[in-house]
């Protein structure tokens, strides 16, 4: 799939950088094809094809690091960029941790990230999936007259990695997604609902009819919503909302933030940071995982890391540099694209499944069931949490009226220790996911 000369050029440029004064160099070539169609009211609104090829080159000299990225593969341009970058590198501060990986033992197991069936899909197939999702949405309820759109797409990405010590490594990964956003109308009120499924393998993708149906349920549930008075009550985050919350919490587990005192978990290793019902895992080796890869963006093998084990903080997540600074093995979390330096990021990051989901609601006398979170809210430096939410009010263990225009807030340390229930509904439709979770008590900020 990549223009073959590009792969050769990427190698050549790296070797040339080494000859021009880089003691170590690393090349990361990303080549991908993305196709997406967007359908609205039966008509194709967008057909988009993206064929991307970019190179990122890191150079090291006397423990100083420089980086360049480009999509221009003309040899003269590459040479000029290498020389400029090497000279800019002299301005950087030497740091002991500026050192590239010396070997890589790539997993011999098939991690199942490449599905030939996804590669075979043509735009007509994507249109067909989107059409049946939209038609099923319209068929559900007369209050669904339109959609914002229905999107179906695929990406096939190929990564080529090599450095001064590690010969060329490569893998290919596929992704397919289908997402519907119907709009429900009642009186003058319009509310949308989105349901997205995303998978590595076509055979794992939910049926289009199911996706349309689930999206409609979400849109309808929001009709007639309004605020509730402010209160301190138990708050349940439904699985999708809990996944978004977990995504916001991720920076607290980054070893760089811990070292630089920018994380509420700094100095908490070995301590209880959550209730015993909470286990948090980052697993870059999970079969068919959306965050699965054979090696990370700087040539470190991926791992399964238990970050929080039954409430106790066991590990931070590392890039090669932070692992070296803290004298621990790397965790394979140096995540990047060709145009960015490796940054500590999640692979497949999730709260492990608990026992029962339905029970979590039934046990609540009066509280809030949150299905949607919007905007920013998690401050992993100060540990404050405050976010716009919508969902349903719980009375005597049952969902009653729809709620919107309210906030939930708390202190993250108290919130996590106060999780008193974890559901069984863990579903990997993203690379950061959670089952339904229940917080013992949060502040709901409501209307007057």
């Amino acid at each position: 799939m990549p223009r073959q000369p590009a792969v050769e050029l990427a190698e050549k440029v790296r070797i040339q950088a080494e000859r021009s004064g880089a003691q170590e160099a690393e090349s990361y070539l990303e080549s991908s094809t993305t196709t997406e169609v967007r359908l609205r009211q039966g008509q194709i609104e967008l057909l988009h094809q993206a064929v991307v090829q970019g190179l990122g080159l890191r150079v090291f000299r006397d423990r100083r690091m420089g980086f360049l990225y480009t999509t221009d593969f003309r040899e003269t341009v590459l040479n000029e960029l290498v020389n400029r970058t090497l000279s800019l590198t002299n301005q950087a501060t030497p740091r002991d941790e500026n050192k590239i990986a010396e070997f890589l033992a790539v997993s011999q197991t098939d991690l199942e990230v490449n599905d030939p069936a996804v590669v075979q899909l043509r735009p007509e197939d994507l249109v067909r999936f989107a059409r049946s999702a939209e038609e099923s949405a319209f068929a559900q309820d007369s209050r669904i007259q339109t959609t914002r759109d229905v999107r179906c797409g695929t990406t096939v990405v190929e990564i080529f990695f090599s450095n001064t010590y590690i010969p060329r490594q490569t893998y290919r990964a596929t992704t397919v997604w289908l997402s519907a956003t119907p709009i429900a109308t009642q009186g003058g009120q319009r509310r949308e609902g989105t349901f997205t499924d995303r998978k590595r393998f076509l055979g794992d993708l939910a049926r289009p009819e199911q996706i349309g149906q689930r999206a409609v349920e979400r849109a309808l549930a929001r009709l007639g919503a309004g605020p509730v008075p402010s209160a301190r009550v138990p708050v349940i985050f439904a699985a999708d909302a809990a996944g978004v919350f977990l995504q916001g919490l991720f920076p607290a587990f980054s070893a760089l933030n811990v070292i630089e005192q920018r994380s509420l978990f700094a100095g908490k290793l070995g301590q209880a940071v959550a209730s015993p019902s909470v286990t948090i895992v980052d697993d870059g080796t999970m079969r068919r995982g959306l965050g699965t890869r054979y090696f990370d963006g700087e040539g470190a093998q991926t791992h399964r890391t238990v970050v929080v084990d039954r409430g106790v903080l066991r590990q931070y997540l590392h890039s090669a540099a932070t692992a070296r600074r803290m004298s621990v093995p790397p965790t394979g979390n140096g995540i990047r694209s060709y145009d960015s330096l490796p940054m500590i990021g999640p692979t497949n990051f999730y709260i492990d499944a608990g026992s029962s989901t339905q029970k979590l609601i039934e046990e609540v006398r009066r509280g809030l069931y949150v299905t949607g979170l919007a905007g920013f809210g998690v401050d992993t430096v100060s540990g404050e949490y405050s976010q716009e939410v919508d969902g349903q009010w719980i009375e005597k263990g049952a969902l009653t009226k729809s709620v919107e225009g309210v906030t939930v807030a708390g202190r993250l340390d108290e919130m996590l220790l106060g999780i008193d229930g974890v559901g069984s509904d863990l579903d990997f439709r993203s690379n950061v996911v959670s089952p339904t979770i229940r917080f013992k008590e949060l502040t709901v900020g409501g209307g007057a």
């Binding site: 990225y69 914002r148 949308e192 100060s382 807030a409």
Partner: protein
């Protein structure tokens, strides 16, 4: 070398005509080709050390074809005629009608820039950039003994764009942009807080001698330290006063996105069909100005080659104009307002804000606090978001104060504020005469595309907004 010469070497008027002819070979109302070349420099200083230095050089070209509401888009990372022709063929496949015969003939246009930069900042030598960062680091640390870390990121770029369109436009433009962010973290007795200062915009190289980077860094350091001592924010609906400048993120989220032509045309925006009607307090006027001096959202032309303009979107409470790109303008029977923007050549243009602000009012800002017995003052905002279908929006406050009996009293930590666009805009009770437009930090994300924007406002008072703190 002339501006955009490398782009022009591949895409002159004649080759652009051929590409657009190919793009419309299967029919369609409109086609354009957009080529771009950026040179970007990034420097990160963390823990007092220059952590990394980056040069980025992405370039490529994309072709779009649309027929009514249908769009085809494809691009090439290779700036080569044959690859761009391939992109034109892929983009044209969205259209399934008769071929078009009319020949295309683009003509070079020169439009007046909104302001002229004599010696733009990205051209400053690397050593001076490093010096600015080191000075900011020292100043932030000196602000308070409880500062434990400082991270500073510097990015500048020179972006050359070339747009050729089937309605005859051929323009070339060069855009400069610089941004610096400084994030000090303070720690004391198990409490942590972070501050933020940003600098930059589309500015001259002597910018850093006219603003004091040390002052900005020191303010961020003091903010981080102040947040250690701040109490919890309140919860519930109450009178809210929002500080001028970056506080304009409020209008960007609450009304701005709803004014964008795509949601309006689809009927999914809550402002669809409301042109000419009252949508807000008569005190409120909202302006989107693609020519604001040094604004992050400013340029000579938008990414469809339309000259930028100053658009009064809300005039004394009445919705007077949507923010439009060419396609949605055509579908609505209107003209583009120069708001067709894209993140890069890999993306098709969509209607976006440029520099959006609440126009200045007549009140003395201090007087806006009077009469409030208990309320919330949002002194420093973070980011926000909106769902344009419902109009429900939120914006984060990084730092606030209690208002008690008409005066600012205790500092409080951040919280999110939420509301519904139309309800909240009716609740404006007063607008100050102290308009400020921020040119240093706005980046807006929509549909997977991030673009630089400016936001602004004077001090604004609302009778009631829901504050999302933990304290009841």
């Amino acid at each position: 070398m002339g501006i955009g010469q490398e782009l022009r070497d591949v895409l002159n008027e004649e080759t652009v005509n051929r590409i657009l002819q190919e793009a419309l070979a299967r029919g369609g109302d409109f086609a354009d080709v957009f080529a771009e070349q950026r040179f970007r420099t990034a420097i990160v200083l963390d823990a007092g050390k220059i952590d990394s230095v980056t040069y980025g050089y992405p370039r490529g070209a994309g072709v779009r074809v649309f027929r009514r509401n249908q769009t085809g888009y494809a691009f090439s990372d290779e700036l080569v005629f044959s690859s761009i022709m391939d992109a034109a063929r892929v983009a044209s496949s969205v259209v399934e009608t008769q071929g078009r015969k009319n020949p295309i003939d683009v003509t070079r246009r020169n439009h007046a820039p909104p302001f002229t930069l004599v010696n733009p900042e990205p051209l400053m030598i690397e050593a001076s950039k490093l010096d600015v960062l080191q000075r900011m680091d020292a100043a932030a640390r000196a602000a308070d003994p409880r500062i434990v870390s400082v991270r500073i990121e510097y990015v500048d770029e020179v972006r050359d764009v070339l747009v050729g369109t089937s309605d005859g436009v051929y323009v070339i433009d060069r855009q400069y942009l610089t941004s610096v962010s400084c994030v000090p973290a303070a720690q004391s007795g198990g409490k942590r807080g972070s501050g933020l200062a940003t600098l930059g915009g589309r500015v001259e190289a002597d910018y850093f001698t006219r603003v004091s980077p040390e002052d900005a860094a020191r303010r961020a350091g003091l903010q981080a330290a102040r947040l250690l001592d701040a109490g919890p924010a309140p919860a519930g609906a109450m009178p809210v006063v929002v500080a001028p400048g970056w506080g304009g993120v409020l209008i960007h989220e609450s009304l701005g996105h709803g004014l964008e032509g795509d949601g309006v045309r689809r009927g999914s925006s809550l402002l669809s069909g409301l042109a000419g009607t009252r949508v807000a307090s008569p005190l409120l006027s909202v302006v989107d100005d693609g020519r604001w001096p040094n604004g992050r959202g400013s340029s000579t032309v938008d990414d469809e080659g339309t000259p930028t303009q100053r658009t009064v979107a809300v005039d004394a409470g009445v919705l007077s104009s949507y923010l439009l790109d060419k396609q949605n303008a055509a579908l609505l029977g209107l003209r583009s307002t120069g708001n067709g923007r894209r993140m890069s050549y890999r993306n098709w243009p969509i209607p976006r804000m440029t520099n959006t602000y609440i126009d200045k009012g007549t009140s003395d800002p201090v007087s806006l606090l009077s009469g409030i017995t208990k309320g919330f003052y949002a002194s420093e905002l973070g980011g926000g978001s909106v769902e344009t279908t419902s109009g429900n929006f939120n914006f984060a406050v990084r730092e606030g104060y209690w208002i008690e009996n008409g005066k600012l009293t205790r500092p409080v930590r951040g919280a999110v504020l939420v509301g519904n666009s139309l309800e909240t805009m009716q609740r404006i009770e007063g607008i100050g005469n102290d308009l400020r437009v921020d040119t240093t930090r706005g980046t807006c994300g929509k549909d997977g595309q991030s673009v630089p924007v400016g936001v602004g406002q004077p001090t604004v008072r609302f009778s009631s907004i829901t504050v999302g703190g933990p304290s009841i």
